[in-house]
């Protein structure tokens, strides 16, 4: 069993480093602002979101039909389709294909699914040299970390730290931190890896049932370079990535990059239908890993609409200040806090509370997942299952009793106002009370609203 994630404790190091926390907050807000500009440039933005949501709702409802249609068409176009029950099964399938080709070196482009399955570690344990080719992913891979964001994997790392990492692994000049210089160094380093790669592994942004094709979106061109040199391409996808028709891409390609990074579209939107030629292979691995169970839940099914744009993270006031690693999950932020407890309620029970219920995530989500409603729904489920610590449960029980009794409520108000007036400052501001480290208590009002109402309105 996994250790329990206590988000406040896991976030502490990041949050208590005010420089890093503020810098991270501002970097993500910058991305969010770019997103806003792009969204505002299209008068039909809300119409697109609504349509995307409807397409996904329809697809997830009829998932079995579209999966089979996709499989039939992909096979007809020469692809090989594999079905994986869970992460371990997925990893075995990929390793099996590598073994069939006696492959030792693979180049990978960004795929949150393979992160979810822990593919890199599994392959490395089996003697395979795995090279992540997305620059951000390569940075975290060289540092022995995991991505802290699903679109911007190295958003938590400063350029000086990237410089140190590259100095150590790629031999760049000591102390060099110019992004242009470092990117150029990575380009040279990864070119040699691309040329040596024997099999290319990619994720999938969209799979099209009516054509059997898959679509991969990148800015760097790494998915394309990684799959157009080797003869074998393995594409790994969650079963929720399906779209019924090619024309549905019109809606999703307009939403994805605008929501993710504030670009009108990614530099490359590549459509693969079948293998490259008669001498090549395209393997598509369809992964369930808990998705069919998520589909059964009326409350959380809409989370399957997610196109992994990361907009909910960029806007989340908690994520921006606490960093992606504080969630201890492959997918962090609001959508991660919805998805993770569906995998393991006990391990991730604190994540639905890493949220102020401000609702900003729901507002920016391009496929209209009601994220903050789902986070609230999770809290209801977790409380019912007694998965909260005793201290919180007891406090909630007492609050509930207080709010149900007009007498107790009035009394508590009176006590509070009096206490604010008469208690000395040190009674509230001392080392045991962490709530008052950076704030003063409010000035007590002279009278309660009830008193005021009785005087002025009640006749």
């Amino acid at each position: 069993m996994l250790p329990i994630v206590e988000h406040p404790a896991a976030a502490k190091k990041f949050v208590t480093d005010p420089n890093r926390s503020r810098w991270h907050d501002q970097a993500l807000w910058f991305v969010r602002s770019k997103r806003d500009k792009q969204a505002a440039s299209l008068p039909e933005w809300e119409y697109l979101r609504e349509t995307a949501s409807q397409i996904k709702t329809h697809t997830i409802a009829n998932l079995a039909f579209y999966l089979q249609q996709f499989e039939d068409n992909a096979i007809a176009r020469g692809a090989q389709v594999h079905w994986a029950l869970d992460a371990a099964h997925h990893n075995e399938i990929v390793l099996g294909i590598l073994k069939d080709h006696k492959t030792k070196r693979i180049v990978k482009s960004k795929s949150m699914l393979t992160e979810e399955c822990g593919l890199n570690h599994f392959l490395e344990d089996n003697g395979i040299d795995v090279v992540d080719t997305d620059l951000g992913e390569r940075i975290v891979q060289l540092r022995g970390e995991t991505p802290s964001h699903i679109v911007l994997p190295a958003i938590h790392i400063k350029k000086e730290e990237v410089g140190d990492t590259f100095h150590q692994h790629l031999g760049t000049d000591e102390g060099a931190s110019d992004p242009k210089y470092l990117t150029e160094a990575a380009r040279g380093h990864l070119r040699s890896k691309f040329l040596a790669g024997e099999i290319g592994i990619t994720g999938v942004n969209f799979a099209i049932a009516e054509t059997g094709g898959i679509v991969v979106c990148t800015n760097e061109g790494n998915a394309d370079l990684g799959t157009s040199l080797p003869k074998v391409h393995i594409a790994c996808m969650g079963i929720e990535k399906l779209l019924p028709r090619q024309r549905d891409l019109g809606v999703f390609t307009r939403l994805l990059a605008r929501s993710a990074t504030g670009q009108p579209i990614t530099s490359y939107t590549s459509h693969f239908t079948g293998p490259r030629d008669e001498n090549s292979e395209l393997h598509i691995v369809l992964v369930d890993n808990g998705r069919s169970r998520l589909r059964e839940s009326e409350s959380f099914r809409a989370a399957m609409h997610c196109i992994r744009c990361g907009a909910c993270m960029n806007t989340c006031p908690v994520y921006r200040r606490s960093g992606g690693h504080s969630y201890r999950a492959t997918v962090p932020g609001p959508i991660g806090s919805v998805l993770s407890p569906t995998r393991d309620q006990n391990t991730y029970k604190s994540l639905p509370y890493a949220c102020s219920l401000c609702g900003s995530c729901t507002d920016v989500c391009p496929v209209k997942i009601p994220l903050h409603h789902q986070l609230l729904a999770w809290r209801g489920e977790l409380v019912g299952k007694k998965l909260l610590p005793r201290s919180k449960r007891l406090a909630m029980k007492m609050a509930s009793r207080l709010f149900r009794s007009p007498f107790l409520f009035a009394l508590a108000g009176k006590l509070g106002r009096t206490a604010l007036r008469v208690l000395p400052h040190w009674a509230t501001h001392h080392s045991l009370n962490t709530w008052t480290i950076a704030r003063e208590l409010p000035k007590p009002p002279k009278e309660s609203f009830r008193d005021w109402h009785r005087k002025h309105r009640a006749k």
């Binding site: 409807q54 329809h58 079995a64 594999h82 990237v162 800015n219 040199l229 028709r245 530099s267 490359y268």
Partner: protein, 210 residues
């Protein structure tokens, strides 16, 4: 098919298990919606919008009368004048120095300086150009060249991605890609750097009499 061993089932069993799990929960949902084309943006001057968006994504647009006007413009670019290995898929504009159709192994194209490719049509809203994989002897040519130029007829332009997918409805190529600007990354502190893995710069030639 991969050979599965151990406690896991084979592909047919896994397939059936996943489909069964899905089929045990019947979910009703509305029909698939179609995009109402009267509700999406269409530009009065799509070409102007295209040039604006191409500049925004880091590419450069050149409107020329005919294919023969392309070489003089490229000749003004240092890295083109100095280039020795050029693959041209648009021979009426540029005669290349490497014949990619004679290359078997795409790895041999690793040192290509320039690729001159043929674009099918432009998309105004995002500066993208559709490239049909069948026009490429090796698809790696688009991604491995240090610099990329795309030649596209001026009349072939749509406003938005809905119209773009109408254009390629039913296409049968094994590969096709919308290219919008040069390869780029902002993975180091959100600093935009052009030329990540693919082309460092992108020139687009929009030919009036094509």
């Amino acid at each position: 098919m991969a050979n599965m061993t151990g406690h896991h089932s084979n592909n047919t069993d896994a397939r059936q298990a996943i489909l069964d799990r899905i089929n045990t929960k019947q979910v009703t949902a509305p029909a698939l919606p179609d995009v109402d084309v009267t509700r999406v943006i269409v530009f009065d001057d799509p070409l102007e919008k295209f040039a604006e968006m191409l500049a925004f994504v880091g590419g450069q647009a050149h409107v020329v009368d005919s294919a023969s006007d392309i070489k003089p413009i490229l000749d003004q670019i240092d890295v083109f004048r100095d280039a020795t290995r050029i693959v041209s898929l648009v021979p009426e504009a540029i005669s290349g120095t490497v014949d990619a159709t004679q290359v078997d192994d795409p790895h041999e194209l690793a040192t290509i300086d320039w690729t001159i490719a043929r674009g099918e049509f432009m998309v105004a809203e995002n500066g993208a150009i559709w490239i049909d994989g069948d026009s490429l002897p090796h698809r790696v040519l688009l991604f491995i060249a240090q610099y990329l130029a795309i030649v596209v007829p001026k009349s072939k332009i749509v406003s938005n991605m809905h119209q773009a997918y109408e254009q390629i409805e039913g296409y049968q190529s094994r590969f096709g890609v919308f290219v919008s600007g040069p390869s780029k990354t902002a993975d180091i502190e959100q600093s935009l750097v052009l030329g990540a893995h693919g082309c460092r710069k992108l020139q687009v030639f929009i030919v009036a009499n094509a």
